[in-house]
């Protein structure tokens, strides 16, 4: 098996983008470039599905590792997957074709450029999840800013310029410190290869500062509480497909980074900073849930709920228990599906009425019954009803938290209640109530492509809600290994004890 499957996954979207770029097209051929994009992203999805099938879930090591010399004597291009990253790759390749399908309704001008941006972004996102070298990781992590900046700025709403700048500069500011840390790691240990770094370990006297540098980047990207303010703006102004990618995948890069790098490389520092992360996560869960309750803009409400949900993710990761980390990963996948779906749902009504204000709607159930059904599933998924994937994630995270700290877990549980409050209230105000507005009465129910995209998301949310085994299976070994490795480190240090 020498076929470089990961590199093909990374490169395929870019090749597609180049193809669309070089094939000159007039307006009538926009359709064809859309089919090219759809074909490429679907091919990528099936390729990653194949990867998941042949992936051996019982092995601890990274698989499908490819290594090539890149910057000579310094950085190697190295990619590989373990049980954790493969799920995120799968999520990415699953969400991207859905975004491509939705462009019909949402993108009115410069469709070709939009497709190119999305395809390039997919390359970078997959690259982030499978890179096994810090410099390569940083490269993909930062490069994703360019297409996202353009997606928000060119195809966004009224305040798109402000949002695009805020998104770009916040994230860049967070990331530059990570670059300092990465170079420092190179000079401390002599390598930026993640696998070697796992084996070598990093001297604990450096860990705290390095951890903080990585944290500054991931905290902005997650986003965690005081630096979350770019997210609502970016979400509100981005076009539907942009919001979907942002919520479903870009935010997950940070959660993935926490697990792969913060926990993996700096276990001592992670332990040291647990109280900090707990505090910020709890504030995120409670405070942003309350903020979400008061929102009048649908997209803003969902954006704040994203911050709250990511609060659960960071909380779970830093419980450093098997359940907590598994729960976090599960929560990320689930939130990727649910928030993508919710943004698509907002997109559906926005395309019809061109407003996102909640009080302009009401009583949709009588004119859009199909919409009401899928929206209900996603609402329930977002609030974590048993039987949806959202439940499993939150439940595992809370289980992990209870193991470590009952107070933290109790406060976090309150967040679940608040989550139910704002989601149900949103549903009530949009779907139920009286049909008053004349223009709302004219709205038509879901079109065929909307039904397809939304039901594509309903299925995994319910499936994994009842049968989480496939996901848990694939992450179990990797998570256990990560915890083992780090605990072993600690025992060693205690044994040396001085």
């Amino acid at each position: 098996m020498n076929f470089p499957i990961l590199s093909s996954l990374i490169l395929l979207p870019t090749i597609g983008a180049l193809f669309i770029f070089f094939v000159r097209s007039s307006n009538s051929q926009y359709q064809s470039s859309k089919y090219v994009a759809l074909f490429i992203t679907l091919a990528n999805f099936f390729l990653s599905l194949y990867l998941w099938i042949v992936f051996d879930k019982s092995i601890v090591d990274f698989q499908f590792v490819e290594e090539r010399e890149w910057i000579s004597g310094f950085v190697n291009y190295k990619v590989g997957v373990d049980g954790i990253s493969i799920l995120f790759i799968l999520l990415t390749t699953f969400i991207t074709p859905i975004c491509v399908i939705t462009v019909n309704a949402t993108i009115k001008n410069r469709l070709k450029d939009f497709l190119i941006a999305i395809l390039i972004l997919e390359t970078f996102m997959i690259g982030v999840f499978c890179s096994l070298d810090l410099v390569v990781f940083y490269l993909f992590f930062e490069a994703g800013l360019i297409p996202m900046f353009l997606i928000i700025g060119i195809w966004g709403g009224e305040r798109r310029v402000y949002s695009a700048f805020k998104f770009f500069l916040y994230t860049l500011l967070g990331s530059v410190l990570m670059l300092v840390a990465i170079i420092s790691i190179y000079w401390i240990t002599g390598t930026t290869d993640v696998i070697k770094l796992y084996e070598l370990g990093i001297d604990s006297k450096y860990q705290n500062l390095l951890w903080l540098a990585f944290f500054s980047s991931f905290a902005v990207k997650t986003p965690m509480w005081p630096v979350h303010t770019w997210l609502p703006d970016a979400h509100v102004e981005a076009p539907t497909a942009g919001s979907v990618l942002l919520a479903a995948i870009l935010l997950k890069m940070a959660g993935y980074g926490f697990i792969r790098f913060s926990l993996g490389l700096f276990p001592d520092a992670s332990l040291y900073f647990v109280p900090l992360v707990y505090t910020l996560s709890l504030i995120a869960i409670i405070y942003t849930s309350l903020v979400a309750l008061m929102q009048e803009d649908m997209k803003k409400l969902i954006a704040y709920s994203s911050v709250a949900h990511m609060g659960f993710v960071t909380l779970g990761i830093f419980t450093m228990t098997q359940q907590g980390i598994e729960g976090s990963i599960f929560q990320m996948i689930s939130h990727g599906l649910v928030s993508a779906a919710l943004f698509l749902c907002v997109g559906v009504v926005y395309d019809r009425l061109h407003t996102r204000l909640i009080n302009r709607y009401g009583g949709l159930v009588s004119i859009m019954p199909k919409y009401a059904i899928v929206f209900m599933v996603f609402t329930l998924g977002a609030l974590g009803l048993p039987g949806t994937s959202g439940f499993i994630g939150e439940f595992l995270v809370l289980m992990g938290a209870f193991k470590k700290n009952i107070l933290v877990a109790t406060i976090a549980s309150l967040g679940v209640i608040l989550g139910a409050a704002y989601m149900l209230w949103l549903y009530k105000r949009i779907i139920f109530g009286k049909l008053i507005n004349e223009d709302v009465k004219k709205m038509v129910d879901l079109k065929r492509f909307e039904i397809v995209t939304l039901w594509l998301l309903v299925l995994p949310i319910i499936f994994f809600g009842f049968y989480p085994e496939p996901l848990i299976n694939s992450i179990e070994v990797s998570v256990a290994n990560m915890i083992d490795m780090n605990d072993l480190d600690k025992i060693n240090k205690l044994a040396l004890g001085d």
């Binding site: 940083y138 993909f140 695009a164 500069l169 530059v176 670059l179």
Partner: protein
């Protein structure tokens, strides 16, 4: 007998200068022909330099003229940039009516001066080279003599540059006084002990050089000169003198003053931090693209100096990589500027770019790539340039410099993003002409491609530059 074969490129250019001068005077209306002949002779000079043995390490004229790997690489860089500048600006000088025979000849003179600077291993030879390039540049800056801004920029550049040359010369005389020699290697041998006069000499020389490279706080001339000069001269200013000045910086710091690292390291760090931060902040409010790129290049010189401030071979090599990538990025940027032409008039305000992406998708895409690269966003070449610099800086545990430098990139990103915003997000304006000459198109495509594709094989340049030994 000296081995004159080693300076054939310099000799060739000197002969061409004289020949073209006579030729241009006697043949009527030959400005375009002289221009083309200049380009051809630059190509020939490039071939002559490449033809030299790459590993050669020798010196001429009583050890006052160095032919080594550093000189060879920098000269290749210099002449390549010169060729691309000539190719891209040929149409511009015709349209702005500055196509006279003196123009290309002055460019050749200043290139010759820079080559002498690059190879100099002696205070006097160095000063001669410096003056040759500066005098040619004064005239070039005010070449569009009917234009008020151009005249002003020439005068401003002349007055300030003469002042800095004076300081530099005073520094040289101090150094000579305390070391009893003008030869770089001898200065290193003779200055083992630190004396106040010597420190003053170093400071004066560094100030003079900082002026040439437009590092803060000696940058005041740059924005005005960049804006006032004809664009074809601005691109020349932005590229070639930087190569020569950086090489001289390297020579001074790493040969005569190498042992005195404690004396100059803080100065360079200060220059570097001040340039990076000031360049980034001051560019935010600019409305003219040329003025903006002046501040941007001040900031970029700060990064190149950061590499030098480490005092290691690796730092120097990474600075050379930085300047190489910087050259390509600026070349691409100015090529785009040359394309903003409508009815024989060139546009250089940021607002003129408004909505460019709708009418000129390819040109906007190149600008997008160049600007993101200047901002240092991966995976473009500009990111690698900064990355190498910070690798060298952090290796020396200079974390403060690294963090300030990186934060300055975030500030700088803002004004680059602002241009991108105007190109891509703002409403469109009138179309520009879409017909351009081949040389300009080739320059733009080649430089953009370099920036875009650099990440595929980043080792290429690194391997070449790691061959360069400094001492």
């Amino acid at each position: 007998m000296e081995n004159l074969q080693l300076i054939i490129p310099e000799l060739f250019i000197s002969i061409m200068i004289m020949f073209l001068l006579i030729f241009g005077v006697f043949k009527k209306n030959s400005s375009q022909l002289v221009y083309n002949l200049t380009t051809v002779s630059l190509v020939a000079a490039l071939a002559l330099i490449i033809n030299l043995d790459a590993q050669i390490q020798s010196s001429l004229f009583n050890n006052s003229y160095n032919i080594d790997s550093l000189a060879r690489f920098m000269k290749i860089l210099l002449i390549l940039s010169g060729i691309f500048v000539m190719l891209s600006s040929s149409k511009y000088i015709q349209i702005s009516k500055i196509s006279k025979i003196e123009y290309p000849i002055l460019i050749l003179c200043s290139i010759l001066g820079m080559m002498v600077m690059i190879s100099s291993n002696d205070l006097i030879v160095f000063y001669m080279g410096l003056e040759l390039q500066s005098l040619a540049l004064y005239v070039l800056a005010s070449f569009n003599r009917d234009n008020l801004l151009s005249t002003e920029s020439g005068l401003k550049y002349f007055v300030l540059s003469a002042l800095s040359s004076g300081l530099l010369l005073y520094g040289c005389s101090l150094i000579y006084g305390f070391s009893e020699t003008t030869n770089f290697n001898q200065i290193m041998v003779n200055t083992k002990e630190i004396e106040y006069g010597l420190t003053f000499g170093i400071v004066f020389i560094l100030v003079g050089l900082a002026f040439k490279i437009s590092a803060v706080p000696f940058h005041m001339w740059a924005p005005d000169v960049y804006q006032g000069s004809p664009t074809s001269v601005t691109v020349f200013f932005a590229l070639l003198p930087k190569i020569a000045a950086l090489t001289v910086f390297i020579r001074f710091l790493y040969i005569p003053f190498y042992e005195l690292g404690d004396q100059w390291q803080m100065i360079i760090i200060f220059l570097s931090i001040a340039s990076m931060v000031f360049g980034a902040v001051a560019a935010i409010g600019q409305k003219n693209l040329k003025r903006l790129i002046a501040y941007s290049s001040i900031s970029h010189m700060g990064y190149a100096l950061a590499g030098l401030s480490t005092g290691t071979t690796q730092g120097v090599q990474n600075s050379i990589i930085y300047i190489t990538i910087y050259l390509v990025m600026n070349l691409a940027f100015f090529s785009c500027l040359f394309m903003l032409k409508r009815n024989d008039e060139y546009y250089e305000n940021i607002d003129d770019l408004s909505g460019l992406s709708k009418n000129h998708p390819l040109l906007s895409l190149s600008l997008l790539v160049v600007l993101f690269s200047l901002a240092g966003i991966p995976p473009l070449a500009g990111f690698f340039a900064k990355f190498y610099i910070f690798v060298a800086v952090i290796n020396e545990k200079m974390y403060f410099l690294a963090i300030v430098g990186l934060l300055a990139t975030v500030i700088a990103a803002f004004y680059y993003l602002r241009i991108i915003k105007i190109i891509y997000f703002d409403p469109e304006k009138e179309k520009f002409e879409s017909k351009h000459n081949l040389g300009l198109k080739f320059t733009l495509v080649a430089s953009t491609f370099f920036i875009l594709a650099y990440f595929i094989y980043p080792s290429g340049i690194v391997d070449i530059i790691s061959q360069i030994n400094i001492n």
